[in-house]
C-alpha cells in the first residue's frame, strides 16, 4: 500500500467532520493509510508529484461515518422479536458469519467505524479479531462483548448478568480480560426486553460508580443505556462517558427533567439520538412518512440540544426493520426532525463521535495525519438531503473498500 503513489481526491464539496460548514474546491491527498494533505484548490494549485488525481465531479466528500451504537450479531428475522429469538438460538459460527455480513452492510452504508454495544457471548470479540487478521473487509470495530445487566435486566439474553456490587466489579474486569474495547452497562430496562422496565433504574449509583471506576482504571470508556430520568440521574452521578438513547423516541412515555439536562451539559457527557427505523420511517418521502410525528418524537432531544448537551447520532441497528446499510438516513432524521444544520448532523456521526469514542486521533475528520477513512456521496446533500443515502465509494485506511455498493475485496493479505 505504501508503495502506491498518493491518491488525490479533488472535490467540489467537503464536509471535514469538525462541525464546520462545507468547504469548496478542495484536494485531499491520501498517502498509504493516512491523509497527507487537505488543501484549497486555488488557481495555482498543482497536484503533488507522481500523485494520481481523481476529480470527484459533483460528488461530496465526507469523513467515514461513525455509528456509535449497533448490534451486529442480531438480524435475520422479520421483526425485532424474531431477531432476539434468533440471537439466542444460533451457534457461535453462525453468529460470527451474521456479524460479518452486517458489518459489511454497515460499511456499504458509509460507516467506517462502528461501536457494537452488545452481542451474544463474546462473538463480537471474535469478529473484531477476525477483522484484525484481515479475514474480512469491514469497518473499524469497537466492541463491548456483552452488556453488563442484572438478572432479568435489559438484554440479559445476551449472556451476562451481574447483580451484586462484587459481581459487577468482577464482570467489568472479566470483560476487559476478554479484550473488549469498552464497557456497556444497562442503567435502565429496555424496550427489547419485555418486563425489564425502562422507566426505572436497574443499578444504583454505587454500582455504576464501580463500573465506571473499574473501566476507567483499565482504560475503557463506559456507554450507558438510559431511557428515563431515574437512570439518567444515576449515570450522571456515576460519571459514565456516553449516554445511549437518553430518552425513548418510540412514542412511549418521556419523563424529561430539565435539571438533569443542564447537569448533563455541565458535566460534558455525550448524549445520543437513536435514529432507528421508528424515526427513519417517518421521513417525509417514506411510505409511512409523517414529518410532524417525527418532530414530535424528537421533542425531548431538541430540548437536550438546546440545553447544550452534545448529541451523537447512532442507528441502534439490529437488522430490518432497522437495516444495517442505511445509516445516512439518520442524518436526514436529525436535519428534518430537529432542525440541526447539515454540517452539525454530520459532526454528530464523525468528529464528535470520534471524540466520544476516544478515536479522534485516528478518524472522524478530514485532516492531515488522520486515517484516510472517507465517503463519497453521489450528489450534493446541501441541495438534496437524500444524497445521504447514496454512498458511492468508501475508503478505509486509504483502501477503496466499497464502490457502487459492491465490496472491493483485498486478496492475499494474509
Amino acid at each position: 500500500m505504501l508503495d502506491n503513489p498518493p491518491l488525490v481526491l479533488r472535490a467540489r464539496r467537503v464536509f471535514d467532520g469538525t462541525g464546520a460548514p462545507p468547504r469548496h474546491d478542495m484536494a485531499v491527498t491520501i498517502a498509504g493509510e493516512r491523509i497527507a494533505a487537505v488543501e484549497s484548490c486555488g488557481p495555482d494549485w498543482r497536484p503533488p508529484d507522481q500523485a494520481h488525481t481523481v476529480d470527484c465531479g459533483d460528488r461530496t466528500l465526507l469523513p467515514g461515518l461513525i455509528d456509535s451504537h449497533v448490534h451486529l450479531t442480531m438480524g435475520g428475522g422479520a421483526t425485532t422479536r424474531e431477531n432476539v429469538e434468533r440471537l439466542q438460538r444460533e451457534d457461535r459460527d453462525m453468529l460470527v458469519l451474521r456479524a460479518i455480513a452486517n458489518a459489511q452492510a454497515v460499511l456499504r452504508g458509509g460507516v467506517t467505524t462502528a461501536r457494537d454495544c452488545g452481542g451474544r457471548d463474546l462473538v463480537m470479540v471474535a469478529v473484531r479479531r477476525a477483522l484484525e487478521r484481515d479475514l474480512f473487509t469491514g469497518p473499524r470495530l469497537l466492541v463491548a462483548g456483552m452488556p453488563v445487566t442484572p438478572t432479568a435486566g435489559h438484554c440479559f439474553w445476551m449472556g451476562l448478568q451481574a447483580d451484586t456490587t462484587d459481581e459487577v466489579r468482577r464482570t467489568v474486569r472479566w470483560l476487559c480480560e476478554q479484550d473488549v474495547d469498552f464497557i456497556k452497562v444497562m442503567a435502565t430496562g429496555g424496550m427489547m426486553t419485555p418486563g425489564s422496565n425502562p422507566w426505572m433504574a436497574q443499578y444504583s449509583v454505587d454500582d455504576l460508580r464501580v463500573v465506571v471506576d473499574e473501566a476507567h482504571r483499565l482504560g475503557r470508556h463506559v456507554a450507558a443505556h438510559v431511557l428515563s430520568s431515574p437512570g439518567l440521574a444515576n449515570v450522571l452521578a456515576a460519571g459514565v462517558d456516553t449516554v445511549e438513547h437518553v430518552y425513548s423516541i418510540t412514542g412511549a412515555r418521556q419523563d424529561y427533567d430539565p435539571s438533569l439536562a443542564d447537569r448533563m451539559a455541565r458535566q460534558g457527557l455525550f448524549g445520543s439520538v437513536t435514529a432507528h427505523d421508528g424515526l427513519r420511517s417517518l421521513l417525509p418521502d417514506q411510505p409511512q412518512g409523517d414529518l410532524e410525528l417525527l418532530r414530535l418524537r424528537l421533542t425531548v432531544h431538541r430540548r437536550l440540544r438546546e440545553a447544550g448537551v452534545r448529541l451523537l447520532l447512532h442507528s441502534d441497528a439490529t437488522g430490518p426493520p432497522t437495516a444495517f446499510d442505511s445509516f445516512g438516513l439518520g442524518v436526514e432524521v436529525l436535519v428534518r426532525g430537529m432542525d440541526v444544520p447539515l454540517h452539525e448532523a454530520i459532526h454528530a456521526c464523525t468528529g464528535l463521535a470520534a471524540e466520544a469514542l476516544g478515536v479522534a486521533g485516528e478518524t472522524g475528520s478530514i485532516a492531515p495525519g488522520k486515517r484516510a477513512d472517507l465517503v463519497l456521496l453521489d450528489g450534493d446533500p446541501t441541495v438534496d438531503l437524500t444524497a445521504m443515502r447514496r454512498i458511492y465509494e468508501v475508503f478505509r485506511n486509504g483502501e477503496l473498500v466499497v464502490q457502487d455498493a459492491q465490496m472491493v475485496p483485498v486478496l492475499n493479505r494474509n
Binding site: G76, D91, D93, I100, R129, A405, M407, P409, N414
Partner: protein, 412 residues
C-alpha cells in the same frame, strides 16, 4: 428477468468442441434456457443482452476437495496450530468464508469441503445459501470420520469400531452434512498416522458407505496406498481422493486390473494438485517426478476413468485462489488435453459431487454457474486467470475482481 449472454467462444464442459460466436440464455430462475450460436439464438422480449466480445464463457469451476477451515500455512504443523488457535478464538467461520470467497473470485463456483474442524463449513454453506454472504456453492462434509489418532483426528470426529463409524455417519447426516468423508488411510499432514497402511478394514468402509447411501449422501474417501484404494473400491465408496497408490516401500505402484475395473465403474478418482505438486511444475526434473507420481492417474485417464482434479486447498501452501495451478498439474503431469482438464474440473467434478443434473456444464436446464474469461483457455490454461465476471445461479457474483454485495438485485 432473462439474460442473453453473447461471447466469442463457449466451452460446454462435456468435452464437445467449443461453440464459436456463442450465445446463452439464462432464465429468470437462474437456469440455462438455451445454448448455441449467436446467429441461431432466440430473441425473447424483455431479455437483457450482455455483449462479452472476444471473451470465453465456460462452466464455473468445481473444486471437489478443499478444507475451508485450514489456512494454507507454510507447513503441516503450522496449519494445525493455526486451526487450533482459530477454533479456540472463534475465528474459523471468518477464515472459512474468506477462503470460500477467494475461490469464487478465481472462478470456482462450487467447492466441496472434505473435512473441517467442527461444523463450521456447514455454517458457511448456510450463510451463503441464505444470501447472508456472497460465495461459491458449498458441499460440506462436516468433520471427516477418522480413527483415534488417525489422519485429521484434530477435526474432532473419531470413530474406531464399525458401530462407531455407522453412528458417526448418522450423526453427520443429522447435523446437516451434504456428503460423508472417511479417512481410509493415514495422511502426511497428521504425524503418526501411517499413510502407507489402511486405517479401517474394508468391512468398516462398506458399513460407512451403506449408511451414507441409505441416508442419501455420497461418500468420499481419503486413500493414499494401494490397499486402501482397493478396499474403498470394494466397499462402494463413490469418490477415492488422492489415490496416490503408494506402496509399502514408498514407491508408486499401480494395479492395472483394478484400474480397469475402476474405469468401468461409476467411481470417480481424485487427482490432488496441491502446493507440493505445483512446486514440481517449475523445472524439468520436477516435471519428471510429477509424471512418475501421477502415473496411476495417467493410466486411469487412458482407461477412461473419471479423474477429477482438485486442489486440496487449505493444506500447506495451497491457497484458495490457485485452482488454476492444479489444472496445470493435471495438464503437465498427465499430458492431458486442455479440454480434458476443463472437463475434469467441471462436468466430472459435478458427477463426483452428485450434482451432475445441476452444475458442471453449460447445458439447458443446468444452473447458470458461468465464468467469463478474457481469452480462450483452450489455448493456454493461464487464460483462466483473467476472470472478468462470474455468475452463480444466473446472478453476477464477481465482476472485475469485486465481490457483489449479497442480496443486491444485479442479475445481468
Amino acid at each position: 428477468m432473462r439474460t442473453l449472454l453473447r461471447a466469442r467462444l463457449l466451452i460446454v464442459g462435456t468435452g464437445v468442441p467449443p461453440i464459436e460466436d456463442a450465445a446463452m440464455l439464462i432464465g429468470a430462475d437462474g437456469r440455462i434456457e438455451w445454448v448455441g450460436t449467436s446467429a441461431a439464438a432466440p430473441r425473447p422480449e424483455a431479455a437483457r443482452v450482455v455483449e462479452l466480445g472476444p471473451a470465453t464463457l465456460l462452466p464455473g469451476l468445481i473444486d471437489s476437495h478443499v478444507h475451508l477451515s485450514f489456512d494454507a500455512g507454510p507447513d503441516h504443523a503450522a496449519v494445525r496450530a493455526v486451526l487450533d488457535y482459530e477454533e479456540q478464538h472463534g475465528l474459523l467461520a471468518a477464515r472459512a468464508l474468506s477462503n470460500a470467497q477467494m475461490a469464487l473470485l478465481s472462478g470456482v463456483t462450487t467447492v466441496r469441503d472434505c473435512g473441517a474442524k467442527g461444523l463450521v463449513a456447514l455454517r458457511v454453506r448456510d450463510a451463503i445459501a441464505d444470501g447472508l454472504a456472497t460465495g461459491p456453492r458449498v458441499v460440506a462434509c462436516g468433520m471427516p470420520i477418522t480413527t483415534t489418532g488417525g489422519h485429521l483426528h484434530y477435526c474432532g470426529l473419531r470413530a474406531d469400531s464399525e458401530s462407531d463409524v455407522r453412528r458417526s455417519v448418522r450423526w453427520l447426516a443429522q447435523a446437516g452434512a451434504d456428503a460423508i468423508k472417511i479417512v481410509s488411510s493415514g495422511g502426511n499432514m497428521t504425524a503418526g498416522s501411517n499413510p502407507l497402511l489402511p486405517q479401517y478394514p474394508a468391512g468398516v468402509l462398506a458399513a460407512a458407505a451403506e449408511e451414507a447411501h441409505r441416508l442419501g449422501r455420497r461418500i468420499v474417501a481419503h486413500a493414499l496406498n494401494a490397499r486402501s484404494i482397493r478396499d474403498c473400491f470394494e466397499a462402494g465408496i463413490d469418490t477415492i481422493d488422492h489415490a496416490t497408490w503408494s506402496l509399502a516401500d514408498g514407491s508408486v505402484g499401480f494395479d492395472a486390473a483394478l484400474g480397469a475395473r475402476l474405469a468401468r465403474s461409476d467411481t470417480t478418482l481424485g487427482l490432488t494438485g496441491s502446493g507440493i505438486m505445483r512446486q514440481l511444475l517449475t523445472d524439468t526434473a520436477g516435471v519428471q517426478e510429477l509424471r512418475e507420481r501421477l502415473r496411476p492417474h495417467r493410466e486411469l485417464l487412458a482407461l477412461g476413468a473419471r479423474v477429477v482434479v482438485h486442489s486440496d486447498a487449505g493444506v500447506r501452501f495451497t491457497p484458495f485462489d490457485q485452482f488454476i495451478l492444479s489444472l496445470h498439474v493435471m495438464e503437465v503431469g498427465l499430458e492431458a488435453a486442455r479440454m480434458q482438464v476443463l472437463q475434469s474440473a467441471t462436468a466430472h467434478a459435478a458427477v463426483a459431487l452428485g450434482l451432475a443434473d445441476e452444475v458442471g456444464t453449460l447445458e439447458v436446464g443446468k444452473r447458470a454457474d458461468v465464468v467469463c474469461v478474457e481469452s480462450n483457455p483452450l489455448e493456454d490454461l493461464n487464460n483462466l486467470r483473467q476472470v472478468r465476471r462470474v455468475w452463480r445461479d444466473g446472478r453476477v457474483v464477481v465482476e472485475d475482481g469485486r465481490l457483489a454485495a449479497p442480496a443486491v438485485d444485479d442479475a445481468r
